[in-house]
């Protein structure tokens, strides 16, 4: 069979069906192999490209593994102090109402130290898009417990597993947020399989579209992995995510616009 001929025949510009978006820079992402942050970045960049809003978008990077988001997503970006991205976004959006403003935050950032800023930006219904990467751990600092860490899950500060009596329950911050009248669209997604990726991208796109329509806060949680923190291979981590994270953080839209 003319195997190689075929491959070479196929690989040509007019047959191109998928390639890295231009809104991602050429910098190699510093994330660990298989880390969902990379995928989430890519989806945001693809949405920005598809909506053709690169010149009108301002991103906010958190403190967390994604602190260097600005090296990868090719839009004007501010790096916020730990947990305060929603405060930055609030000011930027109010001062630049026609720009697309999004925050990108980890679970420690958004749901621990930044709880007040998160809740109040959403309660005010700031017209921004928040992307929330829930990997159940503090990735950047070496795998400590996050507020979303599952019960029994081992981290470097819960080496014997998270104990409810001592550390409480994994916080359902996205549900709290959905209950606030200021949020317009709240969804929980994942990015570790092709079909999840497709759905997640749709959700992110919706979130940006609602921002365009001035609807208030749009919020997309992405249940993600941290294979380094979880001390697994990427493939193991994704399996563990399916088996353990998704039952606690079930995927799907949590709050959808009523008109629909």
């Amino acid at each position: 069979m003319a195997e190689y001929t075929t491959v070479n025949e196929i690989i040509s510009k007019e047959n191109l069906v998928y390639t890295k978006t231009k809104v991602l820079t050429d910098n190699v992402m510093h994330y660990c192999p298989g880390c969902g942050h990379s995928t989430a970045h890519r989806l945001i960049a693809e949405v920005i490209e598809e909506m053709d809003i690169q010149s009108k978008t301002i991103g906010i990077a958190p403190v967390g593994c994604s602190v260097f988001m600005y090296n990868y997503i090719d839009v004007d970006t501010q790096e916020a102090s730990h947990g305060r991205a929603p405060a930055l976004a609030t000011a930027i959006k109010r001062l630049w109402p026609d720009r697309f403003v999004f925050t990108y935050q980890g679970d420690g950032d958004l749901a621990a130290i930044g709880t007040a800023e998160t809740i109040h930006a959403c309660n005010r219904g700031e017209n921004i898009t928040m992307i929330f990467i829930n990997n159940g751990i503090y990735g950047m600092t070496g795998g400590q417990m996050a507020p979303t860490t599952l019960l029994g899950m081992k981290t470097s500060t819960t080496p014997y597993g998270r104990d409810q009596a001592l550390m409480g329950n994994p916080i359902q911050i996205t549900d709290l947020i959905a209950s606030l009248p200021g949020t317009y669209y709240v969804s929980r997604q994942a990015v570790h399989t092709p079909s999840y990726v497709r759905k997640a991208k749709k959700a992110i796109r919706k979130a940006f579209e609602y921002q365009q329509l001035n609807k208030g806060t749009s919020f997309v949680e992405i249940v993600s992995n941290c294979n380094s923190g979880w001390k697994m291979t990427p493939v193991q981590a994704n399996r563990w995510l399916d088996d353990n994270m998704l039952p606690v953080y079930p995927l799907g839209d949590i709050k959808i616009p009523e008109e629909k």
Binding site: H30, Y31, C32, C65, V67, M140, G142, S228
Partner: protein, 185 residues
């Protein structure tokens, strides 16, 4: 006597624990020691290194710009640390994955293909002990007896059954080391 060492490679190669065992060996031999790792999210990138100092005197700075000895376990570390060996110093490296071999003429260069060798042992985890053995062959700054004591101290008791294997690896390292370039320091 003061010996200033950098050990550098990938995360997972046992760089940090190799340094720690070396230090504990020094402690067993009543020496002053310091162990200073690279730290932080650059570990995401996958590299890891540790500065180890073993000395008869109180140790001043635990962080150095120049080393008596560099133990190098991957290409990135080679690029970064080959230039930092003091003239007349020693560079020991593992050949696996090295695309550009060390070129300096003013230092002594040794090679020990520990990764290859480790693959032949019960577990590839012995890699760092092989390299440690190779190093001790060149610079026997601590006595074997104390190395074994140090090893025992730095391993949690549940791993103590691995001590004989580790000893074997150290000895293996002493055997496989090759001279590449020699200078008189």
């Amino acid at each position: 006597m003061t010996e200033e060492i950098i050990i550098a490679g990938f995360g997972g190669q046992g760089v940090l624990s190799m340094g720690k065992i070396l230090c504990y060996s020094g402690v067993m031999q009543d020496k002053e020691v310091s162990w200073m790792p690279s730290y932080g999210p650059e570990m995401r990138g996958g590299t890891a290194n540790v500065t180890v100092i073993i000395s008869d005197e109180r140790i001043s700075s635990p962080i150095l710009n120049e080393y008596d000895t560099a133990i190098i376990l991957n290409q990135q570390s080679m690029d970064k640390f080959e230039p930092t060996v003091k003239p007349g110093g020693i560079l020991l490296y593992d050949g696996n994955g090295i695309t550009r071999h060390p070129e300096r003429k003013d230092i002594s260069i040794y090679r020990a293909d520990g990764a290859e060798e480790a693959a032949k042992m019960e577990t590839t985890r012995t890699f760092n002990m092989i390299m440690l053995g190779a190093y001790l062959k060149i610079k026997p700054i601590v006595e074997m007896e104390n190395v074994l004591k140090g090893l025992k101290k730095s391993l949690p008791p549940r791993y103590h059954h691995l001590l004989p294997l580790n000893k074997k690896a150290i000895q293996r390292g002493m055997e496989i080391i090759r001279e590449v370039n020699l200078v008189n320091a």
